[in-house]
Structure formats: structure tokens, C-alpha cells
């Protein structure tokens, strides 16, 4: 479904990704783990077009993402839940969700998608008229995921969904990812919470200093000694 080949990317003279190749097949949940500053967020941003790679290629179901204008990439079926949620704090929950359905294809099905998101997050229905910025971190994360789901994506990009949340809420977020998966959605998730993320994904890549250092199924990654020592503390 999604395929990256030898992608280089960076900010100005700073290079953050070095020859990253990665693929996600339809129906899979794939994790990208690695330390702070490894280039995980940059990886998400090149996929959704927020920054453009300096070399390499990215395609979504055969369509070249590099040739797609950045605001049309969501129409390819890619929805990106950015790092730190990035809700519109002074818009209501419902207006935030409305923005998620901005593209013409999604507008036509707004009511149907809204019902889907409210079923998934009944809390959002209760808070639909509340300013998004006044909600708790966990609720904001739900709203951010809900906003991404409004476009009825095929591939959901989740950037550090557990960051800054209380442990109980982190648990809830990963439960949610499992539920979203079971609906047939393909997920690419970037996380520092290695232990948790390996429980919900099928496969994972280890990204360090901008390069893929290891990859394999969740079991293989859990069994990998260097990963166990560096990220799981055992």
C-alpha cells in the first residue's frame, strides 16, 4: 500500500533521514520505534507531504506522493495524526472534526463519518460544542484521531499518540488503536513507548539516527537483544 524507497529528508542543511526504505501492506499495523531525534516525526511528515524528501521515492497504492500537491495527499487515503495532536484549540470539537472532513470527497459523507467517530468516542459527542483546547490530554488525543478518521482514510499515520499522557490513558489509546485496526484500517505508528506499541503492531522498524537499523515482526523485535537492552530495559 505505502512504499518508501531510499528516502533522504531534512530541514535546511540538517539531514534527518538517510536512505530510509519501508513498506506497509494493506491491513497491516506497522510500528516505527527509536529514540528521540531519530527522525521518526520527519518520516511521518515526508509521507503526508508536510516536508518533501531530497531524494528517494514514496508511493501510495501506486500513486507518486512526490508528484501530489501536499493538500491532495489526504485524498489518496492518508490521514496523519501529528505529534502533539495539533488540534485547533479555539475551535469546538465538532469544528475540529469538520476540518478533518474538509476535502470534497469527505464533505459529502460528513454526517455518516461524524456518527462513526462519535460511536468510537462517545466522549467526543458529549463535548462536541466544547473548545478543543479546554479538554484533557487524553480527550484531545481522541479528538485528533477522530479528526483524522473523518476523511475515511485507508492509512492512518499516528505520531507518538501516547506522548504526554498519563499511564492509564496511554493504555486506553493503545486499546483504541487495536479497535481501529480491527475495522480493517491500515496503521503506521511511531512511538517511543516500545513495550506498548509492539503489543499492537504486526511488524516494526527500528529507526536510529535517521536510518533503519532493524526490522521484523513484533516477536522478533521483542526477542532482539539490542532492542531489549536499549528500549525495554531488560
Amino acid at each position: 500500500m505505502l512504499e518508501l524507497k531510499s528516502v533522504d529528508a531534512g530541514y535546511g542543511t540538517f539531514q534527518a533521514l538517510f536512505g530510509v526504505s519501508l513498506d506497509v501492506k494493506a491491513g497491516e499495523a506497522v510500528g516505527v520505534i527509536g529514540p528521540n531525534g531519530a527522525g521518526k516525526t520527519t518520516l511521518m511528515r515526508v509521507i503526508s507531504g508536510l516536508i518533501r524528501p531530497t531524494a528517494g521515492s514514496i508511493s501510495m497504492e501506486g500513486t507518486d506522493i512526490l508528484k501530489t500537491p501536499e493538500h491532495r495527499i489526504v485524498s489518496l487515503g492518508i490521514a496523519h495524526v501529528p505529534e502533539n495532536r495539533r488540534l485547533f484549540p479555539r475551535l469546538t470539537v465538532e469544528d475540529n472534526l469538520k476540518m478533518g472532513a474538509f476535502m470534497p470527497e469527505a464533505r459529502a459523507r460528513f454526517a455518516e463519518r461524524l456518527e462513526f467517530v462519535f460511536d468510537l468516542f462517545p466522549r467526543m459527542k458529549e463535548r462536541r460544542h466544547q473548545m478543543a483546547g479546554t479538554m484533557s490530554g487524553g480527550e484531545q488525543q481522541m479528538c485528533a484521531i477522530g479528526r483524522a478518521l473523518m476523511s475515511d482514510p485507508k492509512l492512518l499515520l499516528l505520531d507518538e499518540p501516547s506522548a504526554g499522557l498519563a499511564p492509564v490513558v496511554v493504555q486506553q489509546v493503545f486499546e483504541l488503536v487495536k479497535r481501529i485496526r480491527s475495522g480493517g484500517l491500515t496503521v503506521l505508528i511511531v512511538e517511543q513507548n516500545v513495550q506498548q506499541v509492539l503489543k499492537v503492531v504486526d511488524r516494526a522498524y527500528l529507526l536510529e539516527a535517521g536510518s533503519i537499523r532493524a526490522s521484523g515482526s513484533s516477536q522478533e523485535m521483542l526477542a532482539n537483544d539490542s532492542i531489549r537492552q536499549a528500549y525495554l530495559g531488560v
Binding site: 503526508s48 507531504g49 508536510l50 500537491p69 501536499e70 493538500h71 491532495r72 495527499i73 489526504v74 485524498s75 490521514a79 496523519h80 501529528p82 495539533r86 485547533f88 484549540p89 479555539r90 475551535l91 469544528d95 469538520k98 476540518m99 478533518g100 474538509f102 476535502m103 469527505a106 464533505r107 479528526r147 476523511s151
Partner: protein, 290 residues
């Protein structure tokens, strides 16, 4: 004696409210541009001036009825706003704010000079004399009542556009987080263009209303341009509600100041009030606590 004085006071206050409506309309247009695109159109009042000339030519020279000419004038200035964005602002979007300010300041002089060359410096007017309404001993001109009502309707339309439509929601969202708009499938360049046209349309509507009260000349923008900037700054740049409140505060100061002395003193009082307020509340009347 006291009765007559009270009536004058009341009349001045009502006139202040009527003036406030049009000023609020202008402030809304400027706030919209600032809030969304993060630039200040120094030449905003000059767009109004061009719109007033548009009305003059359509009504006086081509003989169109006022109500037929007005929509065309609004469209004309909306187009001018879009053009200003495409030709001047878009190439400077990433430039330092001072450069953007200087560029729109340059457009101000270009428009004034253009008007001087093209239309001459004669004072012109539409030649429409509207009757005066007598209400409880007060004299209120219909042109001001019409301006107030039309300004309110214009602002209400903008309000519903901003609240109800996808484009309007995007306009509100874009000022809160510019970078992620592409993730929502929003083409920011298109939103900027639409916002510029909307800002222009509001200037066009103001032109249609002000042309009933002011004579038209190339420097007429100076009569309400500076006061609009004070209102927008006092209300807090980009703060729609603040701009609305500040417009009426200023209009009342001008109107009541003019009652106790000359109209010019009303303006002096308004500017003095502004300077004092900048010391007390530099971020604006309704500054958001951060």
C-alpha cells in the same frame, strides 16, 4: 435648557452608534486579513476610496440606480483585494513583516496617485440626498441609518459564513495552526485568496455606504483609514469581537467629543484615548490571556 441638551446628547450617542457600525465593518475586514494571512493592509481605506469612485462612475456617469451599482462596486473591490494578494502579498508571504508593511504602504500611495491622475482632485458626490428622520426631536439621517443596517447585515453574513461553511471554518482554523492545514486537505493559498476577496468585499460594502455620507476625492481614505487601524489595534489585532467593541467605543468618543466642541476635537480625543489605552492595555481591549 436641560431638555434640549439631553436630546442633543442622545442624538450624538445614536449617531455614534450609527458611525460605529461602518467602522466595525472596516475593522472586521482588516482583522480578517490580519488574522488569516498575518499581514496588515495599510492601503485598506484606499480600496474603499476606489470603491467610492466606482460608485460615482456607475451612478453619476453611467446612470445606474444606486442599488444596482452597489453589488458591482462590492465585486470590484473584492477583485481588487484578490489582485492585491496575488500581486503584492503572495510573493512576500515569507518576507519580514516590515517589508510586507512597506509594500502595502507603497500600494496606498500608488492608489492615491492613480486616483489623482485618473479622477482629478475635485470633490465629487453621488448627488443622492437622503431625507432626515425626525424621531423624538432627534434628527437622524437616513443615509446613516441605512449604512448602519447594511453594515450589521454584512457582518452577520460574514459571521454565518465563518460559522457554517467549510471554507469559513478553515479561515478560523488557519490562524490557529497554519502548518497542519495541508493535513486537512486545505490549500492555504486558496484560503488566502478567498479571504483577500472577502476583505475586499467588506471594503466595497463600506464604500457603498460611505459614499452616501462623504464627498469622494483621492485622499478620502485618510478620513477613516487611520481610525480603522486604531480600532483594530485597540481591539487586539486579529480579534474580531475586540474590533467590534472598539469600533463603537471610538465612534462614541468621536461623536460625543464632537458634541461638546468641534468634530475635529472628537478625533483628537479618540487618538488621545488610544494612546492612553496603549499604556494600560497594550495587547488590546479583549486581550486573550496566554
Amino acid at each position: 435648557m436641560t431638555d434640549i441638551f439631553d436630546i442633543y446628547l442622545l442624538e450624538a450617542m445614536v449617531n455614534g452608534i450609527l458611525l460605529g457600525g461602518v467602522l466595525a465593518l472596516l475593522a472586521l475586514g482588516l482583522n480578517l486579513i490580519f488574522g488569516v494571512i498575518d499581514v496588515t493592509w495599510i492601503c485598506y481605506a484606499e480600496l474603499v476610496m476606489i470603491g467610492m469612485y466606482g460608485m460615482y462612475y456607475m451612478v453619476q456617469v453611467f446612470g445606474l440606480p444606486y442599488y444596482v451599482a452597489a453589488p458591482f462596486a462590492i465585486l470590484l473591490v473584492a477583485g481588487l483585494g484578490a489582485l492585491l494578494h496575488l500581486l503584492v502579498i503572495a510573493p512576500l508571504l515569507t518576507a519580514p513583516p516590515i517589508n510586507q508593511l512597506l509594500a502595502t504602504g507603497g500600494v496606498l500611495f500608488v492608489l492615491q496617485s492613480f486616483a489623482t491622475v485618473a479622477f482629478g482632485i475635485d470633490f465629487r458626490n453621488l448627488g443622492i440626498r437622503m431625507p432626515v428622520l425626525k424621531l423624538f426631536e432627534m434628527h437622524l439621517s437616513y443615509s446613516r441609518l441605512l449604512a448602519f443596517a447594511a453594515a450589521l447585515i454584512g457582518m452577520l453574513l460574514v459571521y454565518f459564513f465563518m460559522k457554517r461553511t467549510y471554507i469559513g471554518t478553515a479561515i478560523r482554523a488557519i490562524s490557529q495552526d497554519r502548518q497542519i492545514m495541508a493535513l486537512m486537505g486545505v490549500d492555504t493559498r486558496r484560503i488566502y485568496l478567498i479571504t483577500s476577496a472577502l476583505g475586499g468585499a467588506l471594503a466595497g460594502l463600506a464604500a457603498c455606504l460611505l459614499v452616501l455620507q462623504y464627498d469622494i476625492h483621492p485622499f478620502v481614505g485618510l478620513s477613516f483609514g487611520p481610525i480603522t487601524f486604531l480600532i483594530v489595534v485597540l481591539g487586539g489585532l486579529g480579534n474580531f469581537v475586540g474590533g467590534f467593541v472598539a469600533a463603537f467605543v471610538f465612534a462614541e468618543i468621536i461623536s460625543l467629543g464632537g458634541l461638546f466642541s468641534d468634530l475635529e476635537w472628537g478625533y483628537v480625543l479618540a487618538f488621545a484615548f488610544f494612546i492612553v489605552m496603549m499604556f494600560i492595555r497594550p495587547a488590546g481591549l479583549l486581550a486573550r490571556r496566554s
